[in-house]
């Protein structure tokens, strides 16, 4: 993933300096510990040190701090990478598949952390394939299919759009809305 490609998301112009993109398909600095990675991220990018303890607590990664990143399981690594992303000073985060490979409990925990950061004023762009996961955490949606935008807005706005196209069923179900619009 490359920051430049995120300069125009859903028609919005984004300032690269305010945006940080991260994917969970990587295992950066595999020989280094999670603790070092968090410190490096804070030091190199100039993030706020005060946030570190909160993020570690929220994501429950304290037991992983001494472990090399390359030795973490998929779920553990995902939490460590999410911590790295959340420590970045940029106001906007673009994350690729934050729930991929997680069980229901882990998904809910991470969704809760993401919601709390969004509530604190940070903008999160999440690329999610599982519609139910997206519905769990996002306020606004950009529905993509076949490389084209099929709908954009809150769940209520998308429901109205779907109903306008003759969709039946529950208007508050994002899956039904997606199927109706794509």
């Amino acid at each position: 993933m490359e920051a430049r490609s995120a300069t125009a998301i859903a028609g919005c112009r984004l300032e690269i300096a305010h945006l940080f993109c991260f994917t969970f398909r990587i295992a950066p600095w595999p020989t280094q510990s999670v603790r070092w990675a968090l410190d490096f991220v804070l030091g190199f990018w100039g993030g706020e040190k005060d946030v570190r303890d909160q993020v570690v607590r929220d994501l429950d990664i304290a037991p992983l701090l001494g472990s090399p990143i390359g030795t973490l399981s998929k779920g553990q690594r995902k939490r460590a990478l999410l911590a790295i992303g959340l420590l970045m000073p940029q106001a906007i985060l673009l994350a690729d598949e934050p729930f991929d490979g997680l069980d229901l409990r882990q998904t809910r925990d991470i969704a809760r952390v993401l919601r709390s950061h969004a509530s604190a004023g940070r903008t999160l762009f999440l690329s999610i394939h599982q519609i139910t996961d997206a519905a769990r955490v996002c306020d606004r949606f950009v529905l993509l299919s076949g490389g084209r935008i099929r709908g954009e807005g809150t769940l209520d706005e998308l429901s109205v759009l779907a109903a306008g196209r003759g969709a039946s069923g529950s208007g508050a179900d994002l899956e039904e809305v997606f199927l109706a619009l794509t």
């Binding site: 020989t31 280094q32 490096f40 030091g43 190199f44 706020e48 040190k49």
Partner: protein
Amino acid sequence: MRSRRPAWLWLFAKEWRELVASRSFWVMLVAIGPLVGVSFMSAVRTYAEVSGLGGTAAGVGEALSPLIGVWAPTFSACELAAVFLLPFVAIRLVGGDRQSGALKLELQHPMPAFGHVVAKASVLLVGWLAASIAPVVAIALWRSYGGTTFVPELATVASGHLLNAGLTIGLAAAAASMTEHPSTAAIVTLSVTVGTWIINFIAAVQGGIWERLANYTPTAMVAEFQHGLLRLDLVLISLALIATGLALSAVWMRIGIPVHRRSIESLVVAAVATVAIAGFTKAHASWDTSENRMNSFSEADEQALRKIHAPLRIEAHLAPEDPRRADLERRSLSKLRRVMPEVTVDYISSTSIGLFEQTREHYGEIWYELGGKKQMSRITTAEGVLESIYAIAGISPPAENDESIFRGHPLAAPPKGAGIVFYGIWPIVVVFSSFLMRRNI
């Protein structure tokens, strides 16, 4: 609260940790000890024998210089390490971030990609300096045997190998960024190195433009430094090549840039480098730092030659592989060029080895042309060349001064204890340091 340490310091610290964490670095450190050791012990043994140890003719060693007798072969181990070990360390450090995906995070920092590459290269050079402790240990052992050292010539040799390491790092960094996989990068790096050896081989056979090109291969460059000769053009060209390698690495390291744009940027880098290198070949300054002035005529001869201001043209009818040509070049012309920048040398031959040209009328002739006068000689020694030049210039040869002749530093001492140091203590210390440092990261 934000960190007060600047971002580049964080990056250097990160690269250092990555270097220390890599096994290839420690393998290089372990290997360089015995490599230096075997070269050093062999050189010291030969030096001792020539100096009279074991009943050989005493007095021969009076012409011996530790620079050629000991330090050139000892430091040659560093050349081997720079060719066969350092590329893997460099590729691991540069390509590792791409393999792990860390590059996708790091390159989102406002710091330009070149800054990231420079940080990696700097840390690799520090790593190389750590590897250079092995020849430093050899120097300490030599001193303990009673051997003499001449700091300027040692510094020149070490600088040459540092520049050579820089060239390897620049090349490996570019290869690691331009290829998808470390093994491909390793093949590319070694191929380029072998390519420079092929240039040297063709130069020895065909001469001409290849000979000029071969002057700037890493092997030829290191050879000049190992003779204690510090040439400004070689230093500048090496630095330009290192910068080119790092710039190419930065161009190809960035993610998401179309290939055609990177290709255009690479061509621009190559064009700038070519112009710079062409300019640097005009820099003629050089310094002979060897104690025995092996790259220079005597001071009296140099003073006399400096009085000749007219351009001197030399036409030597000698084939590239004729030993007399190598003799003429090494013992006379290379020294002459340092004193008289207005010297033009043309080699004329029909074949590469000259074996079948011996019977030709003009083969073996060396023609000197100065101020409209011409003179021919067949002598290839320094004395013969100087004699011809003085004769054609119409100046008297300076009186010989025995006091200025280098008397050598014979040392009939075996390499006592070196085996234990390089084959035993060195590997143990490196492995122990590896264990300690890797545990603390």
